[in-house]
Symmetry: C2
Subunit: 221 residues, 2 copies
């Protein structure tokens, strides 16, 4: 198992929730944010809830360099810029777990709709933009950031994982499954992120309609 | 509740399974097929498993005329042609429940990929092609035809339902939920079928990977 992971966008709702849950599961976490002080504030919030947490905040660049596994949990509006800025910080051999969802909200459209991404999905854009040798896996689109960020709320749902290499997916799966109540399902190659990303928009609609924080489970496994 | 429903494509795997489950739930069913004798054979197979079933087979045209609720369960390859042939048989006020999935298999591609449909989804193509006043709802993409067709296999999964009018969805939902073990979830307007249809391709991949007949459940409801 990896010693430490980085969460880029860790001061956002999803990143913060993910950092909190991983820290509570005993995983050392580096929170990255564009603004180092915001990253440190986010780390302090995790520490407040999980006093024994091994967590610290850094600016995105050093945060991305710090771990072999890097989660990318930024809004789609910032994904391309963030990856451009990380070009000289990410390196061959790292695993990038992309959780970006191309919601139409990025261009002032509805959060229940997605944008078409030229490469097919945000995850495929991440694969194209990441430096050579950085392996990309796509995950974490269907878990509610609000539930992730509330340690009192038990989790009981699936994380749909896409990626082109089974070994890469396995690393991400073993890590994510350290969070109790999350089961990972291998949903095939990275191109399947077209569908898993669009599920976020569908669930945002379900949340509004049913006043809940919905997630996904695959039956029959 | 409606007295009777029609299943166009009822001699195919999904249609046959749906007709079987509805008949077992006490719903009178008309099975439609391009070839009347194939429809009658399919009805006989239902009758064999559910002797008290009220089921008969007709050619697609008369079958489509026979009920206020018409399920469309044909392969994407045949959807457009079928709807063209039904133009003079469907009528204003009927509810068309479209279950078509634009799998790339329709053009000798992979069943784990979908085709782009100009209208956005197969369901939206159905809405465009159906005669004026025929209301279209989209459903039944994620339930396995094999499981549906096996009465000994208990069902325990969700059916994602999309449509532009709540009242139309409610009619479809009440009907589908007569099948024990199926819970319907309102997933928003018909355009959301882009995502629910693509889930079929994702589940076909999961089925191959995990040697199962997977389905979907929404958590948090």
């Amino acid at each position: 198992m990896p010693d430490q992971v980085t969460v880029i966008g860790g001061s956002g709702a999803l990143g913060q929730g993910l950092a909190l849950r991983l820290a509570a599961a005993g995983v050392p976490v580096v929170i990255g944010s564009r603004d180092e002080s915001r990253a440190q504030e986010a780390a302090a919030r995790v520490k407040q809830q999980v006093p024994e947490a091994d967590v610290r905040g850094l600016a995105n660049g050093p945060a991305a360099e710090a771990s072999e596994i890097v989660f990318l949990t930024v809004p789609f509006r910032n994904q391309s810029e963030t990856l451009t800025n990380l070009k000289n910080h990410l390196r061959e051999g790292q695993l990038l777990v992309d959780a970006t969802v191309p919601l139409a909200a990025a261009v002032s459209g509805k959060a229940t709709r997605t944008l078409g991404v030229w490469q097919g999905s945000a995850a495929q854009q991440a694969q194209e933009m990441a430096p050579d040798g950085v392996r990309v896996v796509s995950a974490l689109h269907t878990v509610s950031a609000a539930i992730l960020g509330d340690l009192d709320h038990p989790l009981d749902e699936d994380i749909l994982v896409c990626g082109n290499r089974k070994a890469d997916k396995q690393v991400a799966i073993e890590l994510i499954q350290r969070i109790e109540g999350l089961r990972c399902v291998d949903c095939g190659p990275l191109e399947m992120a077209r569908t898993t990303e669009s599920l976020t928009a569908l669930l945002i609609g379900v949340n509004a309609r049913y006043k809940t924080h919905a997630g996904i489970k695959i039956t029959g496994l």
